[in-house]
Amino acid sequence: MMSILTALLVVAAVGLIASVLLTLAAHFLHVDEDEKAKLIRECLPGANCGACGFTGCDSYAKALADGDAKANLCVPGGADTAGKLSEILGVAVEAVEAKVAFVHCNGNCEAAPQKMIYDGTHSCKTASMLYGGPNACRFGCLGCGDCAAVCPAHAFCMQDGIAHVDSRACMGCGACVSACPKHLITLVPRAAKTVVMCSNTEKGAVARKNCRNACIGCKKCELNCPEKAITVTNNLAAIDYDKCNGCGACVELCPMHCLKTADFSA
């Protein structure tokens, strides 16, 4: 009986000492955390995607509380979050430009011949290290899915050897942009009405030989765009999304069908 009692007392005493110590420590050594940062953190979606340019939601919240960051940087949170954040910080609401990832390549299995049979690791990064990858077009999508592997929203699917983004699932964090060894993916505004489906900057004949869907830089779109929204530089068309009104003139004119009418409204 006695031994049980001593054991009980000793453990209870140790527990008591520990709890008193911790309570005292919590009371006297309390560090005031920034209340604002805490509030802000609760408004953020917690995806830790890094689209804001900070390492995660926590560090973005801290930067906001310290006044080092703008309130409209959270892409997944969108306008809702920006509104809440601006309210907490007491600044004017700035609109978030909702963005979506887009793969600027249409070199599918049919259109783009392969220059070799690649049998290595199933990764775009590794494949592109070997003579730029198996594609004849050195700009084209390799279709191994490095983008899909890093996508936190699982928005990618591989079809006919190239990557496609499900614009409804994409939250615009840009993880895929840095994962693509061919730099094919960019974040385009969700409001974009027309997109270029190619990234090839080679001269027309070479580009054409390597892929039947490549932009040959013929400038038809540039000359015929009523809004002057398209410029061809380095044999590749580029669209000014602010100017483009989606009239579709270029889509019909393009001989290579590498301009496409887009609808990214989620």
Partner: protein, 199 residues
């Protein structure tokens, strides 16, 4: 001189021969969980050294001045868990207050180690091996260093694994465990080292 030799032997044997992760298979959870990146692995390793040292500093006196005189040796595990958990929490609070920089680098890992079996294992083994206070401290330091070594080595192995073409059925945890077993096998090669260290 003999004491010094003895301490060196204890240190070397706890780093290499009785490596807590690779020979005794304690602390596998952080070993597999935090060894993906070298930076994190080092952070975790340093935190473990730190926690092992302070845990031994406290538990050794408790065993010898509280539990043993009262014939309560069998309460060791419970009391140690209690003490270590409270201690780590306390240290975290203190670090947060007085050394924010250190808290920032170790802070994430400290709660993870609070009830880590490697830490508990070190403190209990120090008692069972009959070490005196100084020997216990050296042994804890060695175990912590051994943990750090295992973490750093395995972080290297894993970064190579990431880039290799692993068969579908082995992807992820299976291949990590197999790699861990190879590293562990390699460490068994150290078995005879310590006996012949001063021979």
């Amino acid at each position: 001189m003999d004491t010094f030799k003895n301490l060196i032997v204890i240190l070397m044997s706890s780093v290499l021969v009785n490596n807590y992760v690779l020979s005794r298979f304690l602390g596998i959870c952080p070993f597999l969980g935090v060894s993906k990146k070298l930076g994190q692995a080092t952070g975790m390793g340093v935190s473990v050294i730190f926690v092992m040292l302070i845990a031994t500093l406290v538990t050794w006196p408790i065993q010898h001045y509280v539990l043993d005189p009262m014939n309560l040796g069998y309460m060791q595990t419970i009391v140690f868990i209690l003490v270590i958990a409270a201690l780590v929490q306390f240290v975290e609070i203190v670090l947060k207050k007085f050394m924010p920089a250190l808290h920032k680098s170790l802070g994430v890992y400290l709660p993870l180690i609070t009830t880590n079996c490697a830490v508990l294992g070190v403190t209990i083994n120090n008692i069972t091996d009959g070490y005196n206070f100084v020997e216990s401290i050296v042994s804890s330091l060695g175990c912590g260093l051994g943990f750090l070594l295992a973490m750093v080595l395995f972080a290297g192995v894993r970064s190579r694994l990431d880039e290799s073409d692993v068969p579908e059925c082995f992807k992820g945890l299976p291949v990590t465990l197999i790699a861990a077993s190879f590293v562990s096998l390699a460490f068994f090669g150290f078995a005879g080292v310590v006996d012949n260290l001063f021979a």
